[in-house]
Every structure is written in C-alpha cells, then in structure tokens.
Subunit: 147 residues, 2 copies
Amino acid sequence: MKNVFSYTPIGHLRTPYTTAESIPKAMGKPPVAEGVIELDPAYEKGLLDIEGFSHLLVIVAFHLSIDKPLRVMPPGQSRERGVFATRSPHRPNALGILTVELLSRSGTNLNIRGVDVVDGTPVLDIKPYLRHFDCRPESGTGWIGEQ
Amino acid sequence: MKNVFSYTPIGHLRTPYTTAESIPKAMGKPPVAEGVIELDPAYEKGLLDIEGFSHLLVIVAFHLSIDKPLRVMPPGQSRERGVFATRSPHRPNALGILTVELLSRSGTNLNIRGVDVVDGTPVLDIKPYLRHFDCRPESGTGWIGEQ
C-alpha cells in the first residue's frame, strides 16, 4: 500500500487576504469575498465546459499550516474539538475544500466568489459542484448548532 | 513557492466495490452504497465530536488512477469535456471529494452511506459537512443538465 501521495499545484488563488488573521471568521454563513483562481496555463485544456457550472469545489493546500494537532480550539469556542469535526487549516493533512460561485472565466483565470483563504494559496484541484451529490439540505450542524 | 505537497493517508475506505468497473455510474442522484472509513487508530483523538454531524466531506486519493488527461469522455457521453468540468478520477491531481452520510461511529470506524470508490481507497482528510458553506441549492448543473 502506497504510504505517501504527492501533488503539484495546478494554480494559485488570488484573494483579498494577505494574512490568516485578516480573514473574517464568519460562522454560519458562506464567505462572500471575491477572488481569482489563476490556473497554470499548462492546464488550460482542462477548463473546457467549466463556464456552464455556477459553483465549483476547489481543493487547496493550506500551505501556511505548520502543526498537525488532533484537537483544536475553534474561534470563539470554550473547549477543544476533534480536528476532523472542524474545518481548521491545521490538521494532519492540511487540505481545504472551498465551495465557491463561478462568476466568470477569462482565459485561465476563474473569477469566483466565496474565498476565505490567504492570497497565494496553492490550488490542487477544481471540480464542478454537482447539486445532486454535494448539496444536502437535510444535513445537521453538529456542535456548531449547539451555540 | 513550494512545488509539491505530500500527504500520508489517515485511513482507508471499505466499500462494496473491488474494481472500478463495478461501481454504478449513477448520474443525477447521490450514491447509496454503505461503507466504512477505517481511521488509523493514531488519529482517534481527532474524531471527538464528529458524531454530532450528519454528513461529512471525505478527501480521498484516487490511488488507481494512472493517467492525467486534460480532456475526458464521461460515461454515456458523445464528446470529451475538460477534466475540471468533470468528477473523473483521472485528473492532474487524482484527488476525490465524497459527500457522505455519517450513520454511526464505532471507535475509529465511521459507518457511512454514499460511497462510489473502490475498496481500499486511501482517505486523506475528513471534514464536517457544513450546510451554510457546502449546500448550494441554487447551483446549476452545467453540461450534465443538458442531457
């Protein structure tokens, strides 16, 4: 069984946030800041037909994450939670999933809404958001709903 | 800028599918097969509070993927699409996102519904599904809706 999987970024995210501290911690609603996925031009052929989708899933590398705690204290919380019950960027494999709105495409730049990561974050993958797979309106809110 | 990001699996998925060919290609509805996330016991502390969530996002490594095409022919389609406009496992960075229902937890095993990957697929990350971030009922269906 292979023990390590390695990935090369396909592009980077341009966002309004130069530091992690400047990112609004908006629990309870989706981020609204606009940003740009700057895809490496080598991957341009892979964007065919992407304009048809209104939303995308973007897998990013939380490249500034240095520790890998199993328990984290979410913002505004009074006790630690298991890291897999949070969206903290500090986690054993520092990967993030952003659900974003695709506003427009300009060549290999995708203009999007809904970024809450620092400027320069490496992008590992872009996928179409498929409502019948990815939208679960019946889902609960876990400890976040207990507040 | 770092050029390669490496991740060690935190566990593996048990599913009913021993080959990629045996996985139902159900366009238009979520997969219903049940499976198990077998987390490496070293990460058990990270599961605290996960039982409170009804749904999870699971990032997997498509470990059987060998090529990295930029255009792919989706099942039942008559023309190729850009790979970033598909959920094909064959992509530049062979990462997958599964949205699954958490049925129950037994120690470091998470019993889930909604698996459409082969048995033994490496798990890289587990996150709570957060409706206000991840559920976009207003989303379109792109080329999939044109059929």
